[in-house]
Symmetry: C2
């Protein structure tokens, strides 16, 4: 494990825990929600905006950064955090999820994934060692083992195949990472990813295999891909039993506030999701009273802020009527304002979660939050 | 003239002057550059961004605001400054320039202009009194008399016709404005617009006619429509002779830094232009060393800020390489960063101009600025 990387559980409430991760570029508190900065920027946000929201770590997509501007340029510029002028902790994904999302452009074998660039159709090949090299060059503080994510639902045979490849790639990737770090220590931490779709026995197998490789942290991949909330909870609860208590546990691609609260209750420490930012750009924000489709005509005359209980700079200043008007005029400013609020909302949720765990009142907090939140949720999602 | 509106020249340097305008929503210093907030937002900027750049007044387009969200909604929300949560001075244009820009959708007669909405093709009619009513409802601090702008070059007959109509509409508009203010005083100030294309005698006639109507301020319209820089200067120098010294003088739709410096030297107090914001969104920013087409491949590896001499928050943090990468990925963040810098650059230019006039060293400042600026100007524009 990297000398520069550590995780410390500071307090627990039942099996929910609150802690702190230390990286080369500083610390971040857990449970953490990591805004997705696909190509090196969280869409419609500046680094100042992210700081204003209280984000402490952001995620970059290896697939996108590899294609543009290329990992070599980012390396030359001192790594992702510095290239983006963010200068705080960053994480990159393995590229596996992107390749899974664009199946028409990619082909998977035991050796790896061949894919075509969505920019220019050029052919590329990602395999375990390559993905480690690319991510080490991009230079985030936390990087992810190459994995194969499957659709939901998927046959058991295919899911088992993907879990087998994921383990094989994890082994190869881990070995090449250890060799590379021995030669040239960067302080980067490598996390493993557990697959297995919605099959408990495959999750067990994958978890045992991945955990055996002694990563600096472990992730549950392959959820939030279409399964029900009950299945997501069942798989999370089942898989987390195998994940060491003394290492960060990351639930990838999750999610809605209710999913985050669920997963935190089982001891998950890290989350990432495009929901707050992507939905903001299509006219929906998250609020303490549930999702709000602010583009709707019913808000054209509404003097209230996006969220009456929010103290972010957008809610302290702008009305729904104004933001809705700008959104309907396709003004970039509308996307900027809505993205800021929703990002702040998620960071604020995590702050409240951490405080609730510290105060041993997480269960109560979750209940109160959802009671208010779910009044409107079903109507708007 | 409105009791709430006043203009004071604080210092002069030759015929350049530096002053202050007081409005219902506060003061702004002159010479002032007014960022264009078409539909109630300066594209890709928040009100906080505008404050950060030091903007003291923004412009809204009557044509756009009339169509969406409609002047009645803005009135109900307490007027433009409040609806936009800007809460500082605002100005609206007359709509004349927009209608002139979309000739395929509009038809001009002595009575006014019939036009079709670019949103839904619905038919509308703008005439002198209507434009006053719409602008009073929008409720900016300064509103503009309805005018007819002509293309460049234009026949003398057509230009004379447009100047005649502009005077006729100015008279009718002023009368209806005075009546309306008598009934229900708002504190709004109405400015007249001088037309006459590039014909000196028409400019003389139009200036004398418009000035005779005793507006709270006067504008030169119909420039920056394709004439040469020499013609723009000749018309500005000629027309300004007729414009009262004790009232604000506004050169509409101008312009490039060199045009602003030229016009200030003749005693112009106010400017507006989409250049800094529109060009930022197409990959070009203004810098102290001239325009910079930051989207170009030559900046892909450039660690320098957009402008090495700029102290804005974008130049203090981000590299050209990063912003260029984001721009090429069509990231909204690139537009946000570039727009911020260019808006700051124009506001900073105005601050320097005001200081130079105050210090009786405007001529020197202009020379020094242009020497540095024009090194790259010809290459990039």
């Amino acid at each position: 494990m990297s000398d520069h990387f550590s995780f410390k559980v500071l307090s627990s409430d039942d099996i929910a825990r609150q802690g702190i991760v230390t990286t080369l570029h500083g610390q971040f508190q857990t449970p953490a929600f990591m805004p997705v900065g696909t190509s090196g920027a969280v869409k419609a946000m500046t680094a100042e905006d992210l700081e204003g929201c209280g984000a402490e770590i952001i995620l970059g997509n290896t697939y996108h950064l590899y294609l543009r501007p290329g990992e070599k340029l980012i390396k030359e510029k001192g790594g992702l955090a510095r290239f983006c002028a963010w200068n705080k902790p960053t994480i990159t994904d393995s590229g596996g999820f992107q390749l899974f999302s664009m199946q028409d452009l990619s082909r998977i074998s035991d050796e790896g994934v061949t894919f075509k660039s969505h920019h220019d159709g050029s052919a590329h090949f990602f395999y375990a060692e390559k993905v480690i090299q690319v991510q080490r060059d991009i230079g985030a503080d936390i990087i992810m083992s190459f994995d194969q994510c499957v659709s939901f639902p998927e046959s058991k045979e295919e899911a088992a195949n993907a879990a087998r490849r994921t383990y094989d790639w994890a082994k190869k990737g881990k070995e090449s990472f250890d060799r590379a770090e021995k030669e040239n220590q960067t302080g980067i931490a490598l996390f493993g990813i557990i697959q297995g779709s919605a099959f408990k026995d495959l999750r067990t197998l994958s978890a045992e295999q991945i955990i055996s490789l002694d990563f600096s942290g472990n992730a549950i991949g392959g959820l939030a891909v279409g399964e029900s909330k009950e299945e997501m909870e069942e798989m999370t609860a089942h898989t987390i039993q195998f994940m060491p208590h003394n290492l960060p546990r990351y639930l990838m691609g999750v999610g809605y506030p209710e999913d985050i609260l669920m997963a935190v209750s089982y001891g998950i420490d890290m989350f990432d999701c495009v929901l707050p930012t992507r939905n903001a750009r299509t006219g929906m924000v998250f609020t303490s009273e549930g999702p709000l489709v602010f583009r709707n005509a019913e808000y054209s005359d509404d003097d209230r802020p996006l969220d009456s209980n929010c103290d972010c700079r957008v809610c302290r200043r702008y009305s729904r009527a104004y933001i809705r008007h700008l959104y309907n005029q396709r003004e970039i400013t509308a996307l900027v304002l809505a993205t800021y609020h929703s990002t702040y909302f998620f960071q604020s949720l995590m702050r409240q979660i951490r405080k609730a765990i510290e105060g041993k009142r997480f269960r109560r907090f979750r209940k109160d939050f959802l009671e208010r939140y779910e009044k409107n949720r079903d109507a708007a999602t």
